[in-house]
Amino acid sequence: MVRVRLWGSLRRAADGLEEVEVRAGSVKEMLDALAEAHPGLAPQIARGVSVSIDGVIYREAWFTPIPPGAEVVLMPYMTGG
């Protein structure tokens, strides 16, 4: 299981939970499981999110494995200048 931390405004879409648990081995599996378990998160996931795994931020890295016990945090899709 992966514990995923949600940012504040997403919690409303996930029954007020700050952290949700899903069964997933990779970033894509995690996002799919999140959208399925909490349909309210689906629009944001479709628009794009970044994922922090143990402090390293990934963008569009669907197949990145999520190690057991990793700290996983959902973040808005990052852009820069």
Partner: protein
Amino acid sequence: MSLDEYSRREFKQVGTRPRRPDGVDKVTGRAMYGADASAPGMLVGRILRSPHAHARIKAIDTAAAEALAGVKAVITAADFGLPDDDFTRDVQDNCMARGKALYDGHAVAAVAAVDAATAKAALKLIRVDYETLPHVTDVDAAMAPGAPVVQEGRALENVPAGMSANVTSHCEFGHGDPAAGFARADRVIERHFTTAATHQGYIEPHACLASVSADGKADLWCCTQGHFFVRTLCSAILGMEASQLRVTASEIGGGFGGKTTVFIEPVALALSRKAGRPVKIVMSRDEVFRATGPTVSTSIEVKIGMTKDGRITAGEAHLRYSGGAFPCATVEMGGQAAFAAYDLDHVRTYGWNALTNRPKEAAYRAPGAPQAIYAVENVIDELCLDLGLDPLEVRLKNAATKGTKSSYGPTFPAIGLVATLEAAKAHPHYTAPLAEGQGRGLSCGFWFNFGGNSCVSLNVNTDGTVGVTEGNPDIGGSRASISLMAAEELGIPYERIRTIVADTASLGYNDVTDGSRVTFAVGLATIKAARAAIRLMCERAAKIWGIEADAVEWKDGAAVPAGPNAPADVARRDRRGLVRDRRPDRRPPRGQCRRRRRQLWRPSGRCRGRPRDRGDQDPALHDLSGCRQGGASRLCRGPDAGRRGAGHRLGAERGIYLWRRRAVAERGLSRLPHPGRLGPAEDRHGDPGNPQSRPSLRGARRR
């Protein structure tokens, strides 16, 4: 081979200060920027812009302009389709207003004519029937009830009902209970700040040259921070397949984030398609300021509590950003970055984006972060003044460090802020006496790093020099950085490497040059490509020497036999120049010089049976002859061959290997093997359809 783990290492090249590869072109005026391109038969494109901040476009009459001699095409929004994803549609609508002009300077029509004077005259002949509408340019006014509505129905699902229709998104970050934190503070200060939609102000205005031919193939030359993204946007807007649009990035005269999107490129392509001739559009400075992306304008409240000894007990910020007339997510960056420099128990940021009748925001140096940080740092400074505390000590005391739970969620790895502050403290400037009228300021800041998709092709040339092809426009000298990293990995001099930025048809997809990602992410791809090249060359060297692959290692730019498996005498024999000439007529006749033959073709003492035949059946020789540059006979003939012994030195006078490989740097993305890009021998011997025979970047060929 994980690149994620940092290990301390002595660098030979990284950290040196070589001459930048683009220097001479730039000091001689030879470097080609966006506006410097031209094409035979090229037309001049010009854009008509709305004089109103907000107006319904009831009709556009282009007949008179079209009738003017020398005018070859006139376009309006009607010449574009309607992309179904919001993002692309917004980009398109910003390039050419559809239905409403949303800000002063919004494009409403464009012409292509034989010269600038004719184009200008044609713009004057276009009649636009506007119905002016009330406008709003201030973010707070836009969020107030009853404000003029810039666009209807753009609010995301996260906006609570009942807000102004201009509010498009809401976000919230943080942890803990700020109210409890404020209760513990000795002093709480709350302040309000506004920042303007300042422009990036690059010296080079946007410019592009588009050429669409009758068969639908198109070329686009433009100044941009990301030509692959330009291809994505333009092909979507023009309804083209990406493969048919080749985008070449010119040298770029500054971007600062502002050239991460398109403003004129789709217009030039549409004009060129209609006119059947190349069309060049160069913005004037006035157009740049009126119609390209500045940063967000903001209105921010920050509240911070502090104890007498300088510990921040809580921080809270309300961020209201406007990215102009189109929805924009920049406030999310501000919300995450505002307090990220500090280790806080109680922190919360609330962000809102609202539409205003201003140009569409474009990224600008850590988009959204400096505004929020500016507000936070001001309040911290005021608290320091109030409490009589040293602003640097207070920041040290609260600095985020390894293990801090950041204000946006993740736990920080080592981030270097404390070390930076200590260095500032130790710097003479921090204590230098101030003259009359001088001041000294201090601020922390924060930005993320997110890697991104990167593709690099690294080729060992026929003379042993190296070409690196990358796909990110070089804004600040990244070609030099990339060359340095390749030189470091390969162990050859920087001067023997040339890094170029390739067009979109020549390389896999690259994300935009943004977010300070290029040196990091493209650097990783380059390092991977260099290591893959080394592995391949070592394997080939092993085949040539008839020894195991793991008995060859790469040292100082050369493959050398090494390890317990390496036959001790390979190096010695090669130093004597024995592995030299494989041409049959030069070969020592059989029987006459058996010992030498054995040394030539059986370097490994562990070799069984007959000396290995070096005939045409030997794959290793196929490899070499594939180079058509002397092939095997030149193997150790480089200037260094004698001195370096068994080394296959890059930069030797004849090429040994032809190698191409691409690497995808987004850590965790699947590696993309590319059989079609390998040297000739692999093409013949590998079966691209069989995954087992496909080389991967991780040494599958070693199996």
